[in-house]
Symmetry: C2
Subunit: 255 residues, 2 copies
């Protein structure tokens, strides 16, 4: 299996602290040593850092732990390969353009019979069940909405029905974003929390590292973190239920 | 204007030396301070590093100057904005999936009337003439070849006819790759050279840095470098003619 990391914030925020915890699980405190990736949005553009090396040994991951790229939406993933060998083409997050926007996606879980899922315009580059399912989702979205719909809640509700379908093929925990909204779909393991004033101190579970968010934030900051398993002690993480999904916008829970 | 950098090699090769020369032109020895990007292929996968900051000040560029990512194909670009503000969405190279492959593209020059170029499936995310032209190219390719053609020379010959069209709108120097082939189209400024045994010492023009390729390579290595302007003293760069194009495969000139 793999682990997911997501962030939605109302001001550009760095993910260094949470990512520091996650990278330890990439071959050190966890078995997810088959690659890692992080996608950061800046406006409509996105930067994707991906490496098929274990995150706790990766020089690029080392840079990102200390280099504060500030973003309103981040999607991250560390991989323990089960379908598709460790390679760059099989490393999440996957990003594709849809309706003139960069859509990013990461998946945790395993799907059976994914090769039978039809796709149209968007074709897989690698050979993971995850990317295949993403191409299927994009195909269904292009078919259902030739143009981007006005009502984003309706759009993501439709994605949730497709995610229900995919969950019936196995395990489908998913993060999906267009850089503005972040959708989270739970099949079995996903947790989230929203940090807002009054901020306090948090301690990572996977590394001896604490942060006093009161010193790093302004009173108006709202930052939601999503992770497969809680990343910190001392904070109240919400555990999601199978089949449950949420939509976050600028750090706030919308659905 | 901008500067382009490309590499095609028969063994995974790092671009650190050439990139060290190019980054100096990103705000120090050259005026191209509106962002930079590098795309590296590993098999079918590609990693794209892009930053709207000047390359000579960029921490990510600093990492890539010293971190030897080895690749058979690299496309790079440093930007001096003329169409589209400096932003991540407007930073080259642009990458899109076509026929299950990651196609990367970078453009130097300026096009008039680019907004009238039609596109279909692939839509621009940013607002540069360059990305708009890339979407136009992809649309024409999807229309002409619903599936990837067998004959890659024929495919790139067709791209050259489209590039001729685009050149009639202004200046269109282009690098295009699917990770296996690297196509180079010249509108006014492009140079290339192929390094092979016996290797010798090269000195960068933009920085006091030399490299003895005999110590860095094996006798079978073949590495072609493409750049807007020559990057080194002491080497015989080929200057391309307006309207000329080349295709490289594993370091060798194919067309």
């Amino acid at each position: 299996m793999c682990e997911l990391l997501g962030m939605s914030a109302n001001v550009p925020t760095d993910i260094c602290f949470s990512f520091s915890g996650l990278v330890q699980r990439g071959g050190k405190t966890g078995p997810h040593s088959d690659g890692w990736g992080l996608c950061f949005y800046e406006g409509k553009g996105c930067s994707v850092f991906r490496d098929p090396q274990p995150s706790y040994q990766s020089q690029i991951a080392q840079l990102l732990r200390s280099y504060p790229i500030k973003s309103e939406v981040v999607i991250g993933h560390i991989r323990q390969a089960n379908c598709g060998e460790p390679s760059l083409a099989n490393t999440h997050p996957f990003v594709r353009e849809l309706w003139g926007e960069s859509w990013s996606y990461a998946h945790n879980g395993q799907l059976k019979g994914h090769l039978e899922l039809p796709y149209c315009v968007d074709q897989p580059v690698g050979d993971t069940d995850s990317e295949h399912a993403f191409c299927y989702l994009l195909g269904r979205l292009r078919e259902h909405y030739p143009q981007k719909p006005q009502d984003m809640r309706e759009l993501f509700s439709y994605v949730a029905t497709l995610a229900d379908e995919l969950r019936s093929l196995g395990v489908f925990n998913m993060l999906l974003s267009n850089g503005e909204y972040l959708m989270v779909y739970c099949s079995n393991n996903l947790h989230w929390l929203t940090r807002r004033a009054p901020f306090s101190v948090a301690r990572l579970i996977d590394e001896d590292l604490s942060i006093d968010f009161a010193k790093e934030t302004t009173p108006d900051d709202v930052v939601t973190i999503i992770a497969t398993q809680p990343l910190t002690h001392d904070e109240a993480w919400h555990k999601m239920e199978p089949g449950q999904w949420h939509l976050f916008h600028k750090g706030e829970l919308v659905v």
